[in-house]
């Protein structure tokens, strides 16, 4: 008689672990297969490239995380050209 609740508990634990594994597998599939594939769709790919080239991170939360703009003369402006030139290899 006392084995029955223990057996149920063990079965529930197995089910819970199975659900967790399934969830993890779902995340892995979405992030490793679906999202990279979506990124190769032309309009989305173009948007990603444009953000990347301009140094924009659309997922930031606060203005201090904007890397390509700086506060100058009463507003956020693109960093000065000299800063950009420093990042560009003259051979390019």
């Amino acid at each position: 008689m006392s084995d029955a609740p223990r057996c149920n508990e063990s079965r529930e634990n197995t089910h819970a672990r199975f659900r967790l594994a399934l969830g993890v597998l779902g995340f892995v599939l979405i992030w490793m297969v679906l999202l990279p594939a979506m990124g190769r769709i032309k309009p989305i790919g173009r948007m990603i490239d444009r953000h990347h080239q301009a140094g924009i991170d659309p997922s930031i939360m606060f203005y201090t995380e904007i890397e390509h703009l700086e506060y100058r003369g009463g507003m956020l402006r693109h960093k000065l050209i000299k800063d950009r030139l420093e990042q560009v290899d003259p051979k390019d």
Binding site: W31, H52, S59, M61, F62, Y63
Partner: protein, 473 residues
């Protein structure tokens, strides 16, 4: 007060229940709010001092980085291979160490064992790291799906399948992480930048934002009759001020439930994705002036990153205008958090507790003390930026190079903790027959119309030449 609030009995009351009958006073420094203030201010001071003694300036500029910069940051971006995001793993060591020491000492002061806390904290930190890696995927990042969402998802997956193991509980500290992160965020709220763009910026951000915030809250509580006033407030602030960061600050100020914060953020991010794509197309289609369009985008789209992305698709002028309007709104969270905390203590909680207006001591007892740390950090760093030699550069160096990385990790761990404490059923309950969604849609519609009218009037008619001259400088 229920366990699922963003403030616990321990930190909101000066008396801690020992059992149902007796109460014993709790020393102030054991309160979560004060601990958050102590950790936050210590981190800020240490970062500022380190920056000021090790960085040399020439004519107010420097080519050097903050000494913490290579040790404090988040995993990088990736497209196909997530391993690429953790190649610079050193940037995770700083937040890990600061968190382990800071929160470890806090837990010890509260009478808990560091031996129990440390392994649990390491696991929560690992989950936060996974959330950051998920948020770094190029497609996810481009659609402004911030780490908060994935941190919640990771936590929810565990809590709704296997449940949260007992050994992990000592580090599930939503309130402590959020409040500490908010105190650190205070250093990024520089008050003098509130007057950026002059009168037009003030008009769009200072007039429209409070009108939309108050109207949305009123509509939610009086017309839609949402049962939870705090949910109405969090949605109103999230939508009218600046998205996730405003939602975090406001929810802590009005002691919203964890599920309410999660729900408000989910609604906001959903609409942000749509607005980020649609608004620039509409502006282009109607041939709107990029300055007016930029101001409109900056005043309406919730999230800062999405504002910059949407503005940039209209060109550099629109991008800079949009980002600056959003920056002013970002800074408004200081006033919003403080105002909401005062309003809640004076009017909402006193209504709920009794019909009698609380006296000064009662107000002080109920007031969320971490808000004082947030405001203190904000005023302190504003003064440092103005009064110290090379202050503006030094403050920017400190916040960008050191503290923003730390508060990002603390917020991320807070969202993992919220996920770990939340059941899907309780999230579903927040839907309340679609009323919160309706509140967001109505509030955002008002925001879109009012901001467009004000942006057109200020940036397109009354101060058009002034703004053009300013941008050309």
């Amino acid at each position: 007060m229920s366990e699922d609030k963003l403030s616990t009995e321990e930190d909101s009351d000066d008396l801690k229940s020992n059992d149902s009958q007796a109460v014993v006073p709790v020393v102030w420094y054991k309160h979560e709010d004060w601990l958050a203030v102590i950790i936050g201010i210590t981190v800020l001071l240490a970062a500022f001092i380190c920056g000021s003694v090790s960085v040399d300036f020439v004519d107010g500029e420097t080519a050097m980085n903050h000494p913490w910069k290579s040790w404090v940051g988040k995993p990088g971006g990736w497209t196909d291979n997530p391993v690429a995001s953790i190649t610079n793993w050193r940037v995770m060591l700083g937040p890990l160490l600061v968190g382990l020491i800071g929160f470890g000492i806090a837990r010890r002061l509260q009478g808990h064992s560091i031996k129990d806390f440390a392994p649990a904290f390491l696991f929560i930190f690992l989950l936060a790291g996974i959330a950051y890696v998920m948020a770094g995927q190029a497609t996810v990042k481009s659609f402004n799906l911030e780490y908060a969402l994935w941190a919640l998802a990771v936590g929810l997956l565990i809590s709704n399948t296997t449940g949260v193991p007992q050994w992990l509980r000592p580090a599930v500290l939503t309130e402590l992480y959020i409040k500490t992160g908010l105190v650190i965020l205070g250093a990024e709220v520089l008050w003098h930048r509130l007057i950026a763009l002059g009168v037009p910026g003030v008009a769009v951000a200072w007039i429209v934002t409070p009108i939309v915030l108050i109207s949305t809250y009123w509509f939610g509580t009086r017309v839609l009759r949402l049962p939870s006033k705090s949910l109405a407030m969090v949605i109103a602030a999230d939508m009218s001020v600046c998205g996730v960061s405003a939602a975090i600050a406001t929810s802590a100020s009005c002691r919203a439930k964890k599920e309410e914060l999660s729900f408000a953020i989910a609604i906001s991010l959903m609409f942000t994705v749509a607005m980020m794509v649609v608004m620039p197309r509409v502006i282009e289609a109607v041939g709107m002036d990029p300055i007016v369009g930029g101001a409109w985008i900056g005043g309406t789209i919730d999230s800062t990153g999405a504002v910059v992305a949407a503005g940039s698709s209209l060109g550099p002028i629109a991008e800079q205008t949009a980002a600056t309007v959003k920056m002013i709104q970002n800074i408004l969270i200081g006033i919003t958090a403080f105002g909401v905390a005062v309003y809640w203590v004076l009017f909402v909680e006193s209504d709920q507790a009794s019909q009698v207006r609380p006296d000064a001591m009662e107000i002080w007892r109920r007031f969320p003390k971490f808000v004082l740390g947030f405001v203190l950090a904000s005023i302190g760093f504003t003064l440092l930026s103005q009064w110290v030699d090379n202050g503006e550069s030094l403050v920017t160096l400190t916040t960008k190079g050191a503290t923003k990385g730390l508060r990002g990790w603390f917020f991320c761990m807070a969202f993992v903790s919220i996920g770990l404490d939340t059941r899907f059923a309780s999230l579903k309950r927040q839907a309340q027959g679609g009323k919160p969604l309706l509140l967001y849609v109505c509030g955002q519609s008002l925001n879109i119309v009012l901001t467009l009218a004000m942006a057109y009037l200020m940036f397109g008619v009354l101060f058009a030449d002034y703004i053009k001259e300013m941008i050309a400088k």
